[in-house]
Structure formats: C-alpha cells, structure tokens
C-alpha cells in the first residue's frame, strides 16, 4: 500500500469522470463497490470522500454516460446499480486520449527534470 497523496480538488473533479467510467466499463457496479475498486487500483494512494461519488454518478447519469436502476441486493436492501452507456464508452475513449496526452507530457517533463536535478523533492519545494 502506498502513502495517501493529498490530491487537490480540481484534479479529483477532473479525474473522477474517466475513473468512474473505466470502472463501470469493467462491469455494472454500485457506489460502495466503485469506491472500493478506486482504492484497490490506486493502491490506496487515492482517497475520495465517499459521499462525493454520488453527485458525480448523478451528473454522469444526467449527461447520459451511465444508466441507473434499483435492484434488491443479496442483503435484502435496495441498491442502485450503474451501467455505462455507449455514449459513456465513447466519452471514456476520448478522455483516455486526453489523459494519455497529459500523462505523456508530464512523463517527459519529469524525465527532463530528473536529469537536471539529481534528487527530486530535496531541491524542489514540496507541493504546488
């Protein structure tokens, strides 16, 4: 398990759409399971405030990227399941390209920085 990194609000807001869509692309899911999956794939480095996932899901639903339905879970409780729509998959593909572009850019920048300054973190001020 890695250390929890304090990710700023804007970055969380921007990344929540592709992350949720990607998890739903693996299969239909519900809030708690989506959050567990986020924790799992980030190796514990990303911590969302649980409640905040739901407005995000509702926004995706409003935009037509996911569909919701109520089902009775094995626990006997009613549970809201979400499924990605074809529009959602298209959006996911597009987001993926964008994030890959950002990621590639950052990687080369970090690479350039690493060769200039031998000890990152020691020479640079924290955060930013």
């Amino acid at each position: 398990m890695g250390d929890v990194v304090d990710i700023n609000k804007d970055l969380i807001a921007a990344s929540s759409t592709p992350i949720v869509l990607a998890i739903l692309a693996e299969g239909d899911s519900y809030g708690y399971a989506i959050l567990s999956r986020v924790r799992e794939v980030s190796g514990g480095r990303m911590e969302w405030t649980d409640g905040m996932l739901y407005p995000v899901l509702h926004r995706l639903e409003r935009l037509g990227l996911v569909e919701a339905r109520w089902e009775v879970a094995e626990s006997g409780r009613r549970r809201r399941y979400y499924r990605i729509t074809s529009q959602g998959r298209a959006q996911l593909a597009e987001e993926r390209q964008q994030w890959q572009a950002v990621d590639a850019t950052l990687r080369s920048v970090w690479g350039a920085l690493a060769s200039a300054a031998p000890a990152p973190g020691a020479a640079l001020p924290q955060g930013g």
Binding site: G31, H58, R62, R78
Partner: protein, 456 residues
Amino acid sequence: MMASDPMMPLEEQIDRWRSHLRRRQAIHAVDVAELEDHLREQIAGLIDAGLATDEAFLVAVKRIGDLDALSREFAREHAERLWKQLVVPSSDIGEPCAAARTDAVVAVCLAAAAALMVKMPALFGIGLETAPGFYARNLSFFVLPLLLGYFAWKRRLDPGTLRWPALVVLAAAVVANGYPFASGGSTEALTALHLPIVLVLVVGVAYAGGRWREVGGRMDFVRFLGELFIYYVLIALGGGVLLAFMAMIFRSIDIDVEPFFESWLLPCGAAGAVVVASWLVEAKQSVIENMAPVLTRLFTPLFAAVLLAFLGTFLWTGHAIDIERDVLIAFDLLLVLVLGLLLYAVSARDLRQPPGLFDGLQVVLVVSALLADAVALWAIAARITEFGLTPNRVAALGMNLLLLVNLAWSTVLYGRFLRRRGSFADLERWQTDYLPVYALWAAIVVVLFPPAFGYV
C-alpha cells in the same frame, strides 16, 4: 456534527443519521436510500475488519464526509431541487406518487363536474341572461357541494359525520329557491351574498375532518382559505391571459369567440378553478411556504399607515364623515380586511415566541381600524332613523357590530399578550371560536331577513 453515544444501538444511530440527511433540501429520499446502503455496506466491511460496531459507524460516517459539503455538491448537481416542485412528484418514490395521481384525477373530475353543474340549469331553460337572480342565489351550490365531496373523500369521512353538512346544504337550497323573492330585490341580493358564508363553514367542517372542534383544526381551515384565495387569484390571472390570447388568434381568422367565453369558458372555468385551487392547496401544504402570512407581513404596516393617516387627517381637518349609501359597506370591508390581516398573522405565528415589533404594529392596525369604524358608526347612528331600516342597512350594521366585537376583544387579548399577562394561544382560540358566529349571522340573514322584510 452527529452526537454519537456508544451505548446507542446501531439501528438507532443510523436512524439519526438518516433523519439528519433528510433535512437537506437538495438530498432527496432516493439519494438518502442510496447513501444509507453505502453506509451500511461500509459499516459491515469495517466490522469484518475487526472494528467494534460503534467505531465502525463513526468511521463510516466520517468517510461519507461532511454533510454540508455533500449537500452543496448535491445542490450543484440538482439545482432544480432548491425550487420546490409542486405538481410533478419524483417518479422514483413510487407509492406516494400513485396516491398523488389519484388525488389529481379525482380533483380534475370534480372540477369538470363543477363546470357541468354551472351549465345544468341551462338544460332546463334557465339561462344566465334570463334569470340572473337564480344564478346569484345558487352560486354556492355549483361548487361548494363538490368541494364538500372532495374533502369527504380525501378525509375518508364516514356518512354519519356527513349527515349534518348535507342537511345544511339541502336546507339552504330549499330556502334559496323556495322563498318568493321579488326579482332584483335587496333580500335576494343579501341571500346571494350570505349563503356562501354559511356553506363555506360547512365545507370547513368537512375539511377539518373531525378536528373541527379543535382550535388547530379550525385554524388549518383558515390557513386553507387564505391559500385558496391566493391560488384562485393566480389561476384567474392565468385564465385571463389564456382568454385574451384565444380571442386574439381567433379574431385573426375572423371568428368571434366572445359568446363562447361568456356562456361557457368563463362560468365553467370560474367554478372548476375553485376545486382545482383547493386541490393545489392540499397538494402543496407542506411543500411550499404559505403565502397568505407573507402578504400579511407585507401589508400590515402599510394598512396601519393608511388608517393612521386617515384618522390624523380626520382630526386635523374636522371634516364630518359623509354618510352615503355605501359608507357602511366600505367600513365593513375595512374591518374584514383588518380581521384578515390579523387572522393570517395569527395563523403563522409561533405561539411560544415572545411579543415583538410586528405584534405592536398589529395592535396599532387593529386599534386604528376600530377608531375609524367607531367614528363611522357614530355618524351613522346619529342619523339612522332618518334613513330608515332597510334590509341592506340592517345586514351591514349587524356584520359591522360582529366584526367590531371580534376586533375589540382581540385587542384586549393582544394587549394582555404584549404585557405578558396572557398567552398568544388565547387570541388564536378566540379567533377560531368566533368563526361559527359569522356563519350563524349569515344564516340569520338568509333565513329570517326575506320573510321579515317581505321578500323585497
């Protein structure tokens, strides 16, 4: 945040958390259900991981996050929720939605029935133009029995409770149509004016549905009437726009719709709108803030200022009140208005609150109205023999005295409350106890005046 008692069982703690969440306007019941499922799953997971139940609850609640922030996020996503929706219930809720739909269907059917009732006499050759007196006397019978039926259905009244209201309506119908009124006479006009007052009270009994004997039940009916009035005016305004628009577009194809307006749309719409407005008031009750008290707050200071200015000018100039025919009616209306302002201020007041600035203003309003009315009554009393006692004058005088007594005693009670010698509940009780008195007086006017004055 949440006060948590480690001794409290988990279910109770979840109940508390849920009711906390329910209070947020932007978070609907379905969202609460979704979040609760999340919370329970989280708690179960944490207990599996070895936490004690209360610890698991605390951690789970903390992970869900600050409710204020969450509520803000929900509000941002569902901006429309901050504007309370009245007629369109959320489709996710299920059962209450079906009940609301039945209610709407019944209301619309009754409104249609009211519209048909208006046109019924025309079937028997009694036209609006040929017999305006008939329509004036029977105005209340077109609508109020249906309203009575609506509330009887809504409150599931048993036939035993309905016997009295039905009997009153029947007796009223006999009186209104059995008396040999002189056509266009003043007793006929008085009957037309006073009959609705009696029947509205009968509707009130059905509205209160067994709570009529309680102060709260009668007060609810007062609140209902205020909101009904406001909704009716709004519907009438909308109807006016519809009519104007219709006339305009039909004129463009050279068709005159005015006869259709006058004999169909206007009377049928006016009757049906009463039922529709009642249904809307019933449906919105808890959804939207009551409007009547808001308007009361707005207009109490203004009316108080006008009355004080009137009294001041009267004293300063020394002008005598010019007693014309209608001056009594004008002062009756003034008292009715002031009474309405008082009543709706009372209806919205938290009984436990200590007296404040608005209460003082209210007393100023009532006292100045009483003074103005006393001045007018004095002027009239001095010359009443000169004028003679016509039925109109006796009816107006009677109503004036009735209102005067009510307001005078209200002032006394209000004064006691301001000096902290009495409670506000006394005033509320006095106002609601007084309601049947108006109906009783109206019944006297309807039943006794025509024979006493020879049906002129």
